[in-house]
């Protein structure tokens, strides 16, 4: 058995596992969201039932849609989101495609997933989907700046302080927690960057207060307005995968600690413990960064969201960048 075979099998298994996990996390998210509102909430496996039901439903293509773009978009979106998992180190396990992709690729894949959704919206031939797609594009343009600032500052910091590994590679940050490298100005800088990144999460995953492109009480689910059946199932999977991936990226950058070594575990047991601990961290991140936020707030309007990202969050991330630079220079 060659390394390629091993990677293929491990990759397929991981993608399958992560897709299922993302749906379980979404089920828990819905239950906790409901409990915080004093409701009972759906069963844990409701997202599975939804997807299974949708997979068996008819795929309706509107008369005015462009069929190839309309049908292709959900697949591109879900695939791009799924691909990111191959580049994320999980606990002590290196990524399946270690060395062939870095943070920039992850950002592009996240962007591709969002753009594919917008393309699907534009190709729907519906006014609401069109408005939703325009909003998605505007939102992307707004949150990309703080996101890029966060990533670039971290990479520059890793490069200047000589952390082992490629500066843009996620493995660098997982191998050596940033918090152990920085001085006290750097800690404030990192906190600023962390808050900025957490603020980008709701927009990246399309949840309240940034579910502007899918606002159901305004533009009837916007982007996915015309979708049904298999295509809609793919979009649902893409949404929950993006949530999972985004939280995994935040965890890998800012909370890379593992527990296996502290308990003196060895071999495969160490990998297993760290692997499970990684997903626990991702789960907690999702509860804090997505579920609580979407329970606590209402929805912004698109220009308010743009203003929020361009001024408040971009300002915060720039402050983080300055503090982090000061830490290196001093």
């Amino acid at each position: 058995m060659t390394l390629l075979h091993f990677k293929l099998i491990a990759g397929v298994a991981l993608l399958f596992f992560a897709s299922l996990l993302s749906l379980v996390f979404e089920g828990v998210d819905r239950i906790i969201h409901a409990r915080m509102q004093l409701r009972l909430g759906p069963p844990l496996f409701q997202p599975f039932f939804d997807i299974l039901k949708l997979l068996g439903k008819e795929n309706i293509v509107p008369r005015r849609a462009i069929p190839w773009a309309f049908n292709g978009a959900p697949w591109v979106s879900a695939t791009a989101a799924l691909m990111i998992l191959l580049y994320i180190p999980m606990g002590s396990l290196p990524p399946i495609l270690a060395g062939s992709g870095d943070l920039i690729l992850i950002l592009y894949l996240l962007g591709l997933s969002a753009v594919a959704m917008a393309v699907g919206g534009f190709a729907s031939g519906s006014t609401y989907a069109n408005v939703g797609a325009q909003r998605e594009m505007t939102l992307m343009m707004s949150y990309e700046l703080p996101l890029a600032v966060v990533i670039v500052s971290l990479a520059w910091f890793a490069y200047r302080t000589g952390m082992p590994g490629e500066p843009f590679s996620l493995e660098t940050f997982v191998g050596m927690p940033l918090w152990s490298v920085v001085g006290w100005t750097g800690v404030f800088g990192l906190l600023c960057l962390l808050v900025a990144l957490m603020a980008v999460v709701p927009a990246e995953v399309g949840k309240v207060p940034m579910d502007i492109a899918e606002a159901k009480t305004e533009i009837l689910e916007g982007l996915i307005c015309e979708y049904s059946g298999r295509n809609l199932a793919m979009f649902k999977i893409a949404f929950s995968l993006r949530t999972l991936v985004m939280c995994a990226v935040v965890v890998s950058l800012f909370f890379p600690w593992t527990i296996g070594r502290h308990f003196g575990l060895q071999g495969s047991l160490l990998f297993l413990a760290d692997f499970i601990f990684f997903w626990v961290k991702v789960f907690l991140m999702q509860i804090i960064g997505v579920t609580t936020v979407r329970t606590a707030f209402g929805r912004y309007k698109i220009w308010q969201a743009s203003q929020f990202y361009w001024f408040h969050i971009a300002g915060l991330s720039l402050a983080g960048m300055v503090l982090l630079s000061l830490d290196v220079v001093l």
């Binding site: 915080m36 509102q37 004093l38 409701r39 006014t127 609401y128 408005v131 325009q134 505007t138 309240v208 207060p209 579910d211 502007i212 606002a215 159901k216 009480t217 305004e218 533009i219 009837l220 329970t295 606590a296 707030f297 209402g298 929805r299 912004y300 309007k301 698109i302 220009w303 308010q304």
Partner: protein
């Protein structure tokens, strides 16, 4: 965004839309996200209630009037029975007047909390919506304890009411007043202190004082624009005559008037407190005595059959003035005609003004901000199945048809 190209696109909001409780269509001319013009097209939920009423006697119509609208059902029947009492010159006992007042105010609380919750839902604030729904359960329970029903109470009748406030019910009502005085503040704080809620409602859907007068806005909509308009204050009826009621206007609380959705929200939420106070006063001053002018139904019907005259009544429903007019002809069991003018009929006219230069994202919120009751409002639509056309009859056409019919009936 195609903003600034001076090219507008038509976007329909409705007739069936997630953000709207009832079917109504707003055709918006949008430039990018900005609304440049709006056409309101009602007519999706007309049921011909006034026509049905012409085969019924006044007591039967009470149950029809109650089903004009689920939320302000008691407001409609009080307006209706007051019109009948006006036409037939019936005196209502004092206790019945007080009980009517209490139920009207309970209904106002239930309507305003429902509205506040739905407004939050419209801008995606689901937690506040759920909180509102939980709070509303309490008043629904009280209404059920008092009347046996949660929505259509079946409590009013010509010449009085059919249910008494027993000591047990009185206790439940007092409990409810305490409950809201403690718990409702939480909801108020959650929404008014929330930065996103404020960003979504402030300066959205502005209706200036002048426009509110020019377009005859009513109820909380006009009070939100800072005008002191309230029938309970300017032309009191039932037990309101014995009470000191001041119209709730935003300038008394915040010092200034914006006339936006936030002010309308504020007015409705503060009116809940006002209603609690009115219920408290009414409970304290509840007189003893009869519940009905004439408890024997056949005798009442016989009297109504003899009655001849036109009755008019206008009351302050949760959404504004609800006006009912009725004609009874002596010797006829059934009424001759009945006309309902619900508050939304007036308030809907100001929608295009409120839409102007707002954003597409605000449109469901603006539609909801007047607390529309489409099923109350809709009175006339003509559809022709054979040709597939569904057009609304214009005013001049309608007048012409009325005259035609009069000529036919007069045999000329």
């Amino acid at each position: 965004m195609a903003e600034g190209l001076n090219k507008t696109y038509k976007v329909p909001i409705g007739p069936v839309h997630v953000g709207l409780k009832e079917p109504i269509t707003a055709w918006l001319d949008v430039d990018g996200e900005r609304i440049k013009g709006a056409t309101i097209r009602p007519g999706a939920i007309h049921r011909g209630i006034e026509f049905m009423a012409r085969d019924r006697n006044p007591i039967q119509i009470i149950y029809l009037a109650e089903r004009i609208c689920g939320i302000c059902s008691f407001a409609h029947i009080v307006a209706f029975v007051r019109a009948v009492e006006d036409a037939a010159r019936i005196e209502v006992p004092a206790r019945a007047q007080y009980i009517r007042t209490i139920v009207l105010e309970l209904e106002r609380i239930h309507s305003h909390i429902l509205w506040a919750g739905v407004a939050c839902y419209t801008f995606g604030y689901d937690s506040a919506f759920n909180l509102g729904m939980i709070l509303r359960e309490k008043v629904m329970d009280v209404l059920e304890a008092l009347t046996g029903n949660r929505v259509n109470y079946g409590t009013g009748t010509v010449g009085g009411v059919r249910r008494d406030i027993t000591p047990a019910v009185g206790k439940v009502i007092r409990e409810m007043i305490d409950f809201y005085k403690n718990e409702f503040g939480v909801f108020y704080d959650v929404v008014t202190d929330d930065p996103i809620a404020k960003a979504r409602m402030r300066d959205v859907g502005v209706l200036s004082k002048e426009d509110a007068i020019a377009y005859c806005a009513l109820g909380p909509t006009v009070r939100g624009s800072g005008l002191r308009v309230d029938l309970r204050w300017s032309s009191p009826y039932e037990a309101y005559c014995d009470m000191d009621i001041k119209p709730v206007v935003p300038q008394d609380y915040t010092g200034e008037v914006y006339g936006d959705v936030f002010d309308r929200f504020l007015v409705r939420v503060l009116e809940v407190y006002q209603s609690l106070e009115i219920i408290e006063n009414a409970m304290a001053g509840l007189p003893s005595g009869d519940l009905m002018w004439e408890p024997k139904l056949p005798k009442l019907l016989n009297y109504l059959k003899q009655a001849d005259g036109t009755g008019l009544s206008s009351i302050e429903a949760p959404r504004g003035d609800d006006t009912h007019a009725i004609r009874l002809t002596g010797g006829q069991d059934n009424i001759t005609w009945w006309k309902v003018r619900a508050p939304t009929y007036s308030n809907a006219v100001s929608w295009p003004i409120m839409f102007m230069d707002n954003e597409l994202a605000d449109s469901p919120l603006i539609i909801n901000s007047i607390d529309p009751c489409i099923s109350c409002m809709e009175r006339m639509v003509v559809t022709d199945r054979s040709t597939g056309s569904g057009n609304i009859v214009t005013k001049s056409e309608l007048i012409e048809r009325c005259r035609d019919k009069t000529r036919r009936m007069m045999g000329s």
